[in-house]
Subunit: 75 residues, 2 copies
């Protein structure tokens, strides 16, 4: 069963940033789709059940220098 | 002995892109420094000898959706 996780992500400032985040997340096992918006400062990840877990997703984003503020899961 | 490799990279459109490329490359074994410029469409990588090899560096950049045109090593 697929499930969505919504994250607030700051530091993306253009479409190239959105694509970089999306491409990095799409490489993780379990991720089936990614929508990233620098204007909304938001990343929506569709995953299989709860894989990958939130920490893995956050680590992949932060590795690239973007920021996931603590306790700010978007809606 | 450290060595520099210079690549033409297209698709970076802001400072966030530059940082994403730099962060991804800095994680590769052997990379000691990275300078990325979206305006110059150029990435300079300082590495230990010839590690990592050019193909590994190019793959890390292209994984994020940026493009390294064939046969266009920058000066």
């Amino acid at each position: 069963m697929s499930e969505q996780i919504h994250l607030t992500v700051t530091g993306m400032t253009c479409g190239g940033c959105e694509r970089a985040v999306a491409r990095a997340l799409q490489r993780l096992d379990g991720v089936t789709a990614v929508q990233a918006s620098h204007e909304a400062e938001r990343v929506d990840v569709t995953r299989e059940g709860d894989v990958p877990d939130r920490a893995t997703i956050v680590a992949a984003i932060e590795t690239l220098g973007y920021v996931v503020p603590a306790h700010t899961d978007a809606g």
